[in-house]
Symmetry: none
DNA sequence: GATGAATGAGTTTTCATTCAT
DNA sequence: AATGAATGAAAACTCATTCAT
């Protein structure tokens, strides 16, 4: 259930009902096509799957970039909501909240396609803002978990983001169900490695500044 | 240092020195291009990066498939060698060997491109054989580790493969060094979750049959 | 000040005030766009410049042809009025009247766009009638000038038309003011060559029949 | 007979014979098409007329701009050669040389298409250099003519350029022969206005700086 | 063995035109 | 009367592949 409603009051007039439906169909088709064929998927193919004319697609999204951008934003919105939910339940056990969050993302993989697979693909302010908000939520979540003694001190929000991103990336050729099962097992093992441990400390993490440059990275490869 | 020499005595006459050099340059360029642009990268572009004419590329690799196939085989060869090494050192501590193996793969990420990123992209017998050999080595490795009490009973070779594959997939836009650092942290946390634990058991794993169908999956998406 | 009012009582009901304004804006935008982009300028673009929806343009002008036709007629109307004025002042010195006429056209270049630049672009009876009237006025003007001994015997109305047309064609990239200055100089030198002279006679002129076929030429190129 | 041979030793290797033939055919087809349909003429159409595949056209000329550029340069080369010839014969009567030059251009109209019709369409250094050389030749020619007492003092090279440009611009819809006849008459009358005269002096001419900005004008309209 | 060249088959993008609101 | 929306058709541009040198 990706958010495809009209962008929140962004100066633009609300779309006519049929146009809004077309727009949503285009986004859904694009998500599927990008997942299956990469972000270089032919736009006519996307239009065909959406049941609209290619020119209609172009009317809504002036270029491939714009289409990708919307999917990224929709995906990040889903992640942010999940992070908010996790944060709300954190006082009752942050580690469980984290697990819930990561498993939720794994289950929603199909929707998240680009933000997690393709990584940040735009410097669009809206997308960047969402990313920073998500990072902030994860930091809070980890802080709570650490206070509860549930998570090792050297784990960072970046580690959670990495794990979420990796686990959501489709392992190609694997049917959705099996991919989900594998991803879930992977997340579970990872989480079992997260509590405080006598194990050697982790190697140094990239800093927040690095993360930011990561989030803001300029250009996206075509796939 | 990916293996780019002529495949061992496969009936084909040895290449002339300049031809061999061209072949190696083409493979190197293809690896880079596939990583950056996906496996749909224009062959023109690959030839250009390799500094040869497109027709020369075609002489060496009759189609995109053949180019991909060689890269996959080269990659699996690297993985198999690493698995062999890990197995040899396993008696002295299998968990450390596993860690060594996974971190080695992370460090060799650039070379492994297709086998791990793109997954199996061919039904080529040579590639399939390599994959099965790798799986067998990992099973042995896990068995040894279990015997040593170092690894939980419900972890499988598939989990290791998944982890290796995920950790090697490039997080786009992240500079190589930082990507490696993150991947290493991820592997380390995962490994800390691997020993026997009182935690809930893992959800069921896809079976070996599933794995095989995974390895043999018929057609590759363009990215 | 091009004439853009509704054509005089042609059976059509008078336009509503806002509709008339839209119509005028469309014509103005079309003149500019045709000048800058050629007569193949996108109708979208014209509508955009006029600040109306493309469908509104289509309501007023069923096709590109109709739009062009109106601009041509407006232009010829301007030329005819100028020729009438010239004829009225001819008894006081026809050469000066001719100069006045040509310079007037040069100054009105922006308005005349199509009739002079693109030539006759329609077989529309109204346009053809205007053209014939203009030719007749110029013949009269030349006859008067010849009677006054001010113009060589072998100059024809066609020469005047040619000169007017050429001088009005925009030399691309030249700012309007400089283009006008150059055109004025050109007309002035040309006029200095117009009086009776001992110079060799001019080569034969295309006949009136040729001119007619010129005026009536069937199809317009896209630019 | 436009110059279509390989560009003078411009670093590029000489074209293969068949490629050179294709290149020449493309340029010839483009000249015709641009004349008939404007510079927005479909490139498909040009390729079709040239008897080559559209991709072949793209191989030689990466975009429409490049095609236009070459035609402009070829055209200016013709003009420069004619100006050189005129200069060589100037001592025997510069006015006759000027007439010869202008009439030559009129006769070569078909070849000159873009430089004179569309004006300078590029800031390409080669094209600009040619334009400046042409202007210099015309200055010399006028200086000689003035010394001979054959041309009024206030006529400038810019006037000659204007006249050449105007006379060469096709009056649309007029068959080539008649257009040439009219153009020739026009040039002849203009030339009869060129000798010293008691007539009022001409209005001020745009300066050389203006001319230069004219020649260098950045962007070309699509027609 | 290598390359310049050409091409057919896409894919992307634009535009004239119609329709429903 | 005006507009948002949709579309079919065309034009621009790219790319895999083959051929002749």
């Amino acid at each position: 259930m990706p958010p495809t409603g009209p962008p929140p009051a962004a100066g633009r007039p609300r779309l006519r009902a049929d146009a809004a439906r077309n727009r949503a169909q285009i986004l859904a088709a694009a998500r599927t096509a990008f997942r299956e064929l990469g972000t270089a998927a032919p736009l006519d193919e996307i239009a065909r799957r959406a049941g609209v004319n290619i020119a209609t697609l172009y009317r809504r999204f002036p270029d491939r970039e714009a289409l990708i951008r919307q999917i990224v934003i929709d995906g990040f919105t889903v992640v942010l909501q999940a992070a908010d939910t996790a944060l709300a339940t954190a006082p009752d056990g942050a580690l469980a909240s984290i697990e819930e969050l990561l498993l939720h993302l794994v289950r929603e993989r199909e929707t998240l396609v680009l933000p997690l697979i393709g990584g940040p693909v735009t410097e669009d302010p809206e997308a960047v803002a969402l990313q920073l908000q998500i990072a902030a939520r994860l930091e809070d979540l980890l802080a709570t978990a650490r206070d509860q003694g549930a998570v090792r001190a050297d784990a960072t929000a970046v580690d959670l983001i990495t794990t979420g991103a990796l686990a959501c990336r489709p392992l190609p050729y694997l049917p959705a169900e099996q991919a989900a099962a594998l991803a879930e097992r992977h997340v579970r093992i990872f989480l079992d490695g997260l509590p405080p441990t006598k194990a050697r400390p982790l190697p140094p993490s990239p800093t927040n500044a690095d993360l930011t440059s990561y989030w803001k990275a300029a250009k996206q490869p075509e796939s």
